[in-house]
């Protein structure tokens, strides 16, 4: 067989896509999550129900949305209402997964997208929470998709924008966040991470093909828990790559 070549972004999208549960409602943020959702809906999760922030639910994603409010987010959709409907659905417990990104993530899965440095005199002003905080607060499970390096995987984020497990076990409930919610996975350019139930700390689950555990550790700015057995993520299949390149992102916006 021919050795298939692919980029780390393509691999990251494939690994993220495989996390979508068929028949689940998924809150989709801008960017990689959209490509992952489109790939999932064409492979393992045909009954996926995409939910977009500004009111689109149940769209048939024929073309890649470039914004969470554009018409492609409710194309042939079930409903096209408003942001209140979407956010209240989430707050009411109707959204199973939330897929989002951030500039920084810490061992408890807290995400920062507000500032690097001091809030009132920032080194870098980032876009802000957007819907991220709502997604991380209300969706049953959240999946973070990140570039993997020590500047992004940090011991403490400069500003907890979107709640992960906050300070650890019980912290979400103590803060008043909905019961049984929280981060489930992190998909990075190097690996797939999950969380240790007892400590709520991030744990390496599977490395990407060709990536060593040491490389992952070296690019993580905090102690990453290691399981007894680190899996290796299957590479993108020929079909996954074809879908990504020919159907999902033919204009190469992301890949």
């Amino acid at each position: 067989m021919v050795e298939q070549t692919y980029s780390r972004t393509e691999l990251m999208i494939c690994v993220a896509a495989r996390l979508f549960e068929d028949g689940a409602t998924c809150f989709i943020g801008t960017g990689i999550p959209m490509l992952a959702a489109m790939l999932a809906s064409r492979t393992t999760a045909p009954n996926l129900v995409p939910v977009f922030e500004f009111g689109g639910t149940g769209a048939i994603m024929e073309e890649l949305p470039r914004a969470v409010g554009e018409a492609r987010t409710w194309h042939k959709g079930i409903s096209a209402l408003g942001i209140c409907d979407t956010m209240e659905n989430a707050q009411r417990g109707f959204i199973d997964y939330g897929f989002l990104g951030g500039a920084q993530i810490d061992p408890y899965g807290n995400l920062n997208s507000i500032v690097i440095g001091d809030h009132d005199h920032p080194k870098a002003r980032l876009p802000g929470s957007g819907g991220g905080n709502d997604v991380g607060s209300h969706c049953w499970k959240t999946v973070a998709i990140m570039q993997h390096d020590v500047r992004r995987f940090v011991p403490r984020v400069d500003c907890i924008t979107t709640p992960g497990f906050l300070s650890g076990p019980g912290a979400r409930e103590a803060a008043g966040l909905p019961k049984d919610t929280g981060p489930a996975y992190v998909v990075s350019t190097l690996a797939l991470m999950d969380y240790d139930a007892a400590t709520c700390r991030m744990r390496l689950k599977a490395t990407h093909p060709g990536v060593s555990v040491d490389e992952v550790i070296a690019n993580t700015g905090f102690e990453l828990l290691l399981p007894a057995q680190v899996e290796v993520n299957p590479p993108p299949s020929v079909e996954e790559l074809r879908l990504l390149r020919e159907e999902i992102d033919p204009e190469k916006l992301y890949i």
Binding site: T30, G31, E53, F54, G55, G56, R66, A67, V68, G69, E70, A71, R72, T73, W74, H75, K76, A80, L81, G82, I83, C84, M87, A90, Q91, N110, I114, H119, H121, P122, K123, A124, R125, L126, P127, G128, S129, G130, G131, G132, N133, D134, S137, H138, C159, I160, T161, T162, P163, L166, A171, R172, A174, A175, G176, L177, P178, L253
Partner: protein, 324 residues
């Protein structure tokens, strides 16, 4: 009432429900012609230091012709909420923004906003008060309901709340912790719709974003519409009136008013037009050149459209979402 936690952020637009009621009492319920130009509407209702916001956002059903006119007239020291892409980027690049109730300002697919970074990191924007997109909308919803606050479980436990002006209390019915979001009334709101009549009755196609909430949470509402329709059409479909006339102060006829953004079922987004801002806004000089070319350099929306040209607009129309 015991408050467990108070966000440290400034409440940059305090709310008094009875003062808002008194304002609403004075608004006319008469059917009067409110059609005017962008220039007239912005001159008449937007003022230095006012608290202003736009709906939906930058690339989607956004009142871009109104946003550009605000820059053209150089309304300054603006206090702004949102949630914005191109529209707020233009205001930031033009140095018009003093304080922000910020939820998201960025370039979506194209990443963070250099204009925001320059404006905030330089200290030109004096304050950023943080909110989630859900929270800022519920703040408007509270005002729209005529109540001083709405509860939410968003923002709990995070720095987003710590840098907001929300308060955490315990629910007296169940003892659960909830955040209370203070009602938000804008001095001026700008909303772009598909159709409006001369009095301001509005219809929107596709997602409604937060148009219903913002329209009911402002003192002045400037609506721009792709099409001005007879009131008979409104009265034939009263169940499509998302914004009734009595909320509206000005109606501006703005075909392609959302350009370079999209307008569902009418035209798709002008990717090249959006990318032009993305590229030019990387430097202050580039951003200035963009403002010169597309705002200061043209008299108004008609000249802007002429500058864009019929061919490009026609291509946007071809890219529109269709009912199928």
């Amino acid at each position: 009432m015991e408050v467990l936690q108070s966000g440290a952020g400034e409440l940059i637009q305090p709310f008094d429900v009875d003062e808002f009621r008194a304002w609403n009492r004075k608004k006319s319920r008469k059917l009067v012609d409110k059609v005017m130009s962008e220039a007239e509407a912005i001159r008449q209702f937007v003022y230095d230091g006012c608290y202003i916001g736009t709906e939906l956002y930058g690339t989607v059903r956004c009142p871009m012709s109104l946003a550009r006119e605000v820059v053209r007239q150089g309304k300054k020291d603006l206090r702004v909420c949102g949630q914005g892409v191109l529209e707020l980027d233009l205001w930031l690049a033009a140095g018009l923004v003093k304080k922000l109730d910020i939820t998201y300002i960025g370039l979506e697919v194209y990443g963070t906003s250099p204009a925001l970074r320059r404006a905030v990191e330089s200290g030109q924007v004096e304050k950023c008060v943080e909110w989630s997109n859900g929270a800022i909308t519920w703040r408007m919803k509270a005002a729209a309901m005529g109540v001083p606050f709405l509860p939410t479980r968003s923002m709990l436990g995070t720095d987003t709340l710590a840098y907001s002006a929300a308060k955490v209390i315990t629910d007296p019915f169940t003892g659960a912790k909830v955040a209370l979001l203070p009602a938000l009334v804008l001095d001026v709101a700008l909303i772009h719709v598909h159709r409006a009549d001369q009095y301001g009755n509005c219809q929107i196609e596709g997602i409604s974003g937060f148009a219903a909430e913002m329209a009911r949470a402002c003192k002045r509402l400037i609506v721009s519409a792709e099409e001005i329709i007879p009131t008979q059409e409104i009265r034939k479909y009263p169940d499509r009136t998302i914004i009734p006339y009595y909320l509206v102060d000005a109606v501006v006829h703005a075909p392609y008013g959302s350009h370079p953004g999209e307008m569902a079922y009418l035209y798709g987004r002008d990717e090249a037009g959006i990318k032009e801002w993305v590229e030019m806004s990387k430097t202050a000089e580039g951003a200035q050149a963009y403002l010169n070319k597309y705002i200061y350099g043209v008299q108004g929306h008609d000249e802007y459209l002429a500058l864009i040209g019929q061919d490009r607009l026609r291509r946007c129309v071809e890219l529109r979402e269709k009912r199928e």
